[in-house]
């Protein structure tokens, strides 16, 4: 009875409500911004939502000890092209001991209109530049040959649109290779109707350094693999995919592999409405955030007594049922 009561009290008195706070944090590329979470209890679960397209690295410290944060791995599928993940970045950690914790946010790139998703071991830097009179983003991908597991590690610059592709649908812009070697640059359209990721080649691997090229993809453009058509379909994202090709550097002695890609004047026309995506990179910006501190259930020592009592109780009830059955039989 006592162990059951303890168990019931434990479950009923559990703090089901979260400690919640939300505000804005000012961050600067290349610098750390901090947020203090005082008085966490052991096993407290901290969930941080950052409402931004920018990527921010998070370091959690208790005193001078770094606490591991959970890696962002997706349950289900291997990509994250859904708006609630693209426009909100999430982090998670569990407090290992009681105490004050400090969260340090560091933008991994300046803030652009795009959300960044990368596959493979890549360093990325982004800056704003003017090239041949065009305002452009200079996106540099780099890696070490020894670290490159896959031949084409790549990044996607994701821009959410949420439109139905009309007859006049068109994505246009300017793309170029400033330095290094790319495997290819593609415009990718996430088509929710066909449940497909359509790719359109806009820059090939043999393109020369310093070349600028205008590109245009419309509702009837031929997809790279000739798979389908986006006309009339529900489009959720437009992504610019850039791959790094280590074969470009096969005969170079240096270990580093890199490519600097220029992207500018991205325009999205649909149903007579034109959206201009500015090639802007902001080093200083504000991020709205939410922090949830959840409690984790911890059983009392009496649960083992309760477990034994339940098993004994089950045996007694079972014995009563079966002996009664036998007597009746």
């Amino acid at each position: 009875m006592f162990s059951t009561a303890t168990f019931a009290v434990n479950v009923l008195s559990f703090p089901y409500e979260a400690d919640f706070s939300s505000s804005m944090i000012d961050v600067e590329y290349g610098k750390e911004s901090s947020l203090i979470l005082p008085d966490l209890k052991p096993s407290d679960t901290v969930f941080i939502s950052l409402h931004t397209m920018a990527s921010l690295d998070l370091t959690v410290l208790r005193g001078s000890n770094v606490i591991a944060t959970a890696p962002f791995e997706i349950e289900g599928r291997s990509h994250i092209f859904v708006d609630y993940l693209v426009v909100t970045k999430r982090h998670f950690f569990m407090a290992d001991e009681a105490g004050d914790y400090a969260l340090y946010f560091t933008p991994s790139t300046p803030k652009t209109p795009y959300s960044l998703v990368k596959s493979g071991d890549l360093d990325i830097s982004i800056s704003q530049t003017t090239f041949n009179g065009h305002e452009m983003l200079n996106v540099t991908l780099s890696s070490f040959k020894r670290n490159m597991d896959e031949r084409f590690p790549k990044i996607f610059l994701i821009y959410p649109v949420n439109i139905i592709a009309k007859e006049d649908f068109e994505v246009s812009g300017v793309i170029g290779l400033s330095k290094g070697g790319v495997s290819m640059v593609t415009i990718n359209i996430v088509d929710e109707t066909d449940y497909a990721f359509y790719s359109y080649l806009i820059l090939e691997y043999f393109v020369k350094e310093g070349t600028l090229r205008f590109f245009e993809v419309n509702a009837t453009s031929k997809e790279m693999f000739g798979l389908g058509n986006i006309s009339g379909d529900d489009i959720s994202f437009i992504c610019i995919g850039m791959g790094l090709d280590k074969l470009h550097f096969a005969f170079e002695n240096e270990d580093i592999v890199f490519a600097s890609v220029l992207l500018g004047d991205l325009n999205i026309l649909n149903g007579g409405k034109l959206v201009k995506v500015d090639a802007e990179a902001h080093n200083v910006f504000s991020v709205p955030y939410e922090v949830y501190i959840f409690s984790k259930y911890r059983p009392s020592h009496y649960v083992y007594v309760l477990q034994s009592c339940i098993v004994i109780g089950l045996i007694m009830v079972g014995a009563a049922i079966f002996t009664r059955g036998k007597r009746q039989g």
Partner: protein, 431 residues
């Protein structure tokens, strides 16, 4: 020893066709899966391997620190396979062998049930139809050049074969052995594998009518469920509740109700893996419901899930009332199928994995050979078409083909429900 050997020999002699069919079946299934594993070259859309890998990397205990999509028996028996494997390919091979074994054993128990309720001829015909379906898989496999078949999907990635095994063992204990204790035990274990087998409790309660038998049935179902759950229930009842509760907010998919909601994709959750450390009500706070988030779904027609739930309850009660009028074991084979199909028909989501138990149930529920073939094969083809839709380059055709497949499959299941209900109402149960 000699007696045992001669017993086995004579059993083999009496049931030779069944042994030949099951041996061929298991070899074909294993071959299909081994080819698919080797062709996939370590790439899998979904597998338990990344789940175990993540859990072991972060040193978390499933059901206590971390939620799982399945109850304990649906997950933990596969964990030792992860521990002894040296990568995803070997894990998938071991996983396949367990699932092929479970499917083959399920066919054996179906054979025993049908031999007892009908005749050996009926049993052989039924398992011949069910086990010949992989041949269709092989035809589509070679003709399409694509390595993913329906069998590949659910043997490589799902726990349904294990769930089917416990369902068929429960049926065997109910219809052949007529022991409420064992029936309850296996229904409980099945429930702890993938929830659906608990539905067999409805025909089982109607079957074991005496108060003492019904008590034994309910007791063993409850006791087996509780014993399996106890360690997790005691150490973190809130996380254990989350394992079941998290299905409540899932959106519809692969059903006519999903089409009504305007969703034409297949089932799947796009969420960070670390979400699984949180309790259900904590996640509800973090993720407000949205129409494109299929883990925390905002219904466009809010009354639809309530209507579906009421329909499921009414269907289960109706099945029980129908079966109470019968005492013939054939009626209970049909009634068991009817109960599960009625529940599935009103479910908000459907997965091609369900074919693992839907197809055998449909085939064994009919007396007439032509119905077995008609419904079994046509439902199988519908499932294969959906597999091909997602795996091949049908992009522009996906919408019309997917919609047609969902509607035809739902109508076929509805037709089976109507036919079985008619047979049970009219008492038309033939040998």
């Amino acid at each position: 020893m000699e007696n045992i050997l001669s017993g086995i020999k004579s059993y083999y002699g009496e049931n030779k066709p069944m042994f030949i069919i099951l041996l061929t079946y298991s070899i074909i299934l294993a071959t299909i899966c081994i080819i698919e594993i080797l062709k996939a070259d370590g790439f899998y859309g979904w597998s338990l391997y990344p789940y175990f890998d993540y859990v072991s990397k972060v040193h978390a205990t499933p059901f206590i620190d971390f939620r799982s999509g399945y109850p304990p028996v649906g997950l933990l028996p596969y964990y030792p396979l992860f521990k002894i494997s040296d990568g995803v390919v070997s894990f998938q091979l071991y996983f396949t062998f367990v699932n092929v074994g479970a499917l083959t054993l399920s066919m054996f128990f179906i054979y025993l049930v049908l031999s007892s309720a009908y005749s050996k001829a009926n049993a052989i015909k039924s398992i011949a139809i069910i086990t010949s379906l992989p041949f269709i898989a092989m035809v589509s496999f070679y003709s399409s050049g694509w390595y993913k078949t329906l069998y590949g999907v659910y043997i490589l990635h799902a726990v349904e074969p294990l769930s089917l095994l416990f369902m068929t063992v429960s049926l065997y204990c109910m219809i052949v052995r007529r022991t409420p204790t064992l029936t309850g035990l296996f229904i409980g274990i099945g429930f702890m594998t993938k929830i659906y087998p608990i539905l067999l409790l409805i025909p089982a309660i109607a079957f074991f009518r005496s108060r003492s038998d019904a008590l034994k049935l309910l007791y063993t179902t409850f006791a087996s469920t509780l014993i399996i759950s106890l360690p997790f229930l005691i150490l973190d009842p809130l996380m254990y509740a989350t394992v079941f509760l998290h299905h409540a907010t899932r959106g519809p998919s692969n059903t006519i109700y999903a089409l009504i909601e305007g969703f034409y994709g297949h089932t799947g959750l796009l969420h960070p893996a670390f979400d699984q450390f949180l309790y259900y009500w904590q996640l509800v706070k973090v993720y407000p419901p949205r129409t494109n988030d299929h883990a925390f779904y905002l219904w466009k027609n809010p009354s639809l899930p309530i209507v579906l739930f009421v329909c499921q309850v009414v269907a289960l009660v109706a099945c029980y009332l129908l079966l109470r009028k019968h005492s013939d074991s054939r009626a209970f084979v049909k009634g068991s199928c009817l109960t599960i199909l009625s529940f599935v028909f009103f479910s908000k989501l459907y997965s091609p994995h369900f074919a693992a138990f839907i197809l055998p149930l449909v085939v064994i529920s009919f007396d007439k050979f032509v119905y077995k073939v008609l419904f079994g094969v046509s439902l199988y083809v519908m499932h294969e078409i959906q597999g091909l839709l997602w795996s091949r380059n049908f992009y522009d055709l996906r919408f019309p083909l997917f919609t047609s497949e969902v509607i035809i499959r739902s109508l076929a299941i509805l037709a089976v429900i109507v036919l079985l209900s008619y047979e049970l109402i009219k008492g038309v149960v033939k040998g």
